[in-house]
Symmetry: C2
Subunit: 290 residues, 2 copies
């Protein structure tokens, strides 16, 4: 396994999508990145603010043109790329799918978003069938990547399952933002909660974690709501949850060096995997204990 | 259910144990606290730095003199008290047990520490049989208390199971500190990780969380190690992980107002319990997925 890994998080806003993606990937590779993480639905707008069947036209098979473009770029640059696509699996069956292109350009694997949100402005249950591939890391030239997507980031179960399956890193393409109708204190709590819960997953599992979030304001197509101000703040933390790098609200490519060997050192002093009470966790498979 | 609840966290150091406990509980009740949370093994020193059979003499049955003292105080003051005792269940069978005394003095319930650590200076696997009561909140006059103990705080499973069982609050008596041999950066990471992972549980479960930690330096009885500098920093956070109050390293009784009604408002915007993929969590019951 590689010990020191330079990773790029490419945080972009409309109208620089998808044009900015290839440009920033090339710059990141020039800067030494061997792994690039893109934001959720990186090829265009966040189209889930309203429910409209025409949006299904955006979906593509995987493999398909979008994943193949990323694969060609990965092979040319000799890097691993984690992107996020709207996958058309069959007529009327679509997923929010992360794709992992290995450094030889091959589609090394995919992850279909398991936890799908649905709240005002994020109508994802209309568009995305919940994933059916489970929580399996993808083996690549730079390690076993535990790729999850956005809403998954609130679920400790998802991170834990990736860790138990041997992930070396936890990676989250995301698209989360503020409702301008919320006051500044609520907005600050939301951003801090989003960062904190993910740092918590890093700590609980003794793994580095990287989240790449969309930024910029996107109006609601219908004008029926106030739109979403994607808050950026992509970040990387180490296996003690310690922040290694963090973006602001503006478009930015964040380059960060991650020491993968540190995970084992941390797990030796905090051996949580040793002490899990698997004999007493059965009720985690229930909805609620009424 | 009570909406606004004033809670006291009593963070003390030797030699003010156990004398300070009753004094500070009375002061907290005078200050309006209706729930008091004590630190782990609140009646005396943290005796687990070395393995010595004579230390088992400290253990008492539950109910027993120590729990009854707390019960009389709870009844007199009309408050709920959560303490932490060394329970003697039978000869050669001991637990690290949290006790919950209701405002009428009755032993409302107990929690036997499920995750038991063992590392240099924290020889708990020698002293404490892992709990066999599972993760069940205790019903009291101030709500359903999800009481966990120290090492449990690193395990998202424990907090989740308490939430699924209907806990209104997550409460952790703890005893954690620094090794003076670690450098300042490592010590800062450890304290921050400890706080962050617990704030993460609050967020993931939409519940307030309070942790009461020991403070002060306690030398190792044998002189074979450097002792433990218990780091204090007891804190309370709300259901978005937002810090409500936080102590420093010194002895302190922290009084904090918690709005229990806020949990439901937060869970309506972040309905994680709705979206858990219980169909896909089976591997959480495994040690590792080799």
């Amino acid at each position: 396994m590689i010990n020191k890994l330079k990773i790029a998080l490419i945080q972009l806003a409309l109208p620089d999508l998808p044009a900015g993606i290839e440009r920033e990937i090339r710059l990141a590779a020039d800067g030494g990145a061997r792994l690039v993480l893109l934001q959720e639905l990186h090829d265009g707008p966040y189209f889930c603010q309203t429910e409209a069947t025409v949006q299904f036209d955006r979906a593509e098979p995987v493999p398909g043109p979008a994943s193949e473009r990323l694969g060609r770029l990965a092979a040319e640059l000799g890097i691993v790329i984690v992107g996020s696509l709207f996958e058309r699996r069959a007529a009327g069956l679509y997923h929010n799918t992360a794709v992992v292109l290995d450094s030889d350009g091959r589609l090394a694997g995919r992850y279909r978003k398991m936890h799908v949100p649905d709240d005002p402005g994020f109508q994802e249950k209309f568009y995305f069938t919940p994933g059916d591939l489970g929580f399996r890391p993808v083996e690549t030239a730079v390690g076993r990547l535990g790729v999850l997507v956005c809403w998954d980031q609130w679920f400790p179960e998802a991170a834990r399952l990736m860790a138990l399956a041997g992930a070396d890193l936890l990676l989250y393409p995301t698209a989360i933002g503020w409702d301008d109708a919320d006051d500044a204190a609520e907005q600050a709590r939301q951003l801090e909660a989003w960062t904190t819960v993910q740092r918590g997953h890093a700590i609980a599992n003794g793994l580095p974690l990287l989240a790449c979030n969309r930024c910029g304001f996107e109006p609601a197509p219908s004008g029926t709501s106030g739109g979403i101000r994607f808050w950026g703040h992509s970040f990387a933390c180490g296996p003690q949850g310690e922040l290694l790098a963090r973006a602001g609200e503006a478009p930015q490519t964040l380059l960060v060096d991650v020491d993968l060997a540190r995970s084992e050192r941390v797990r030796r002093i905090w051996p949580f995997l040793r002490d899990r009470r698997i004999d007493a966790y059965g009720d985690l498979l229930k909805r609620f204990l009424d």
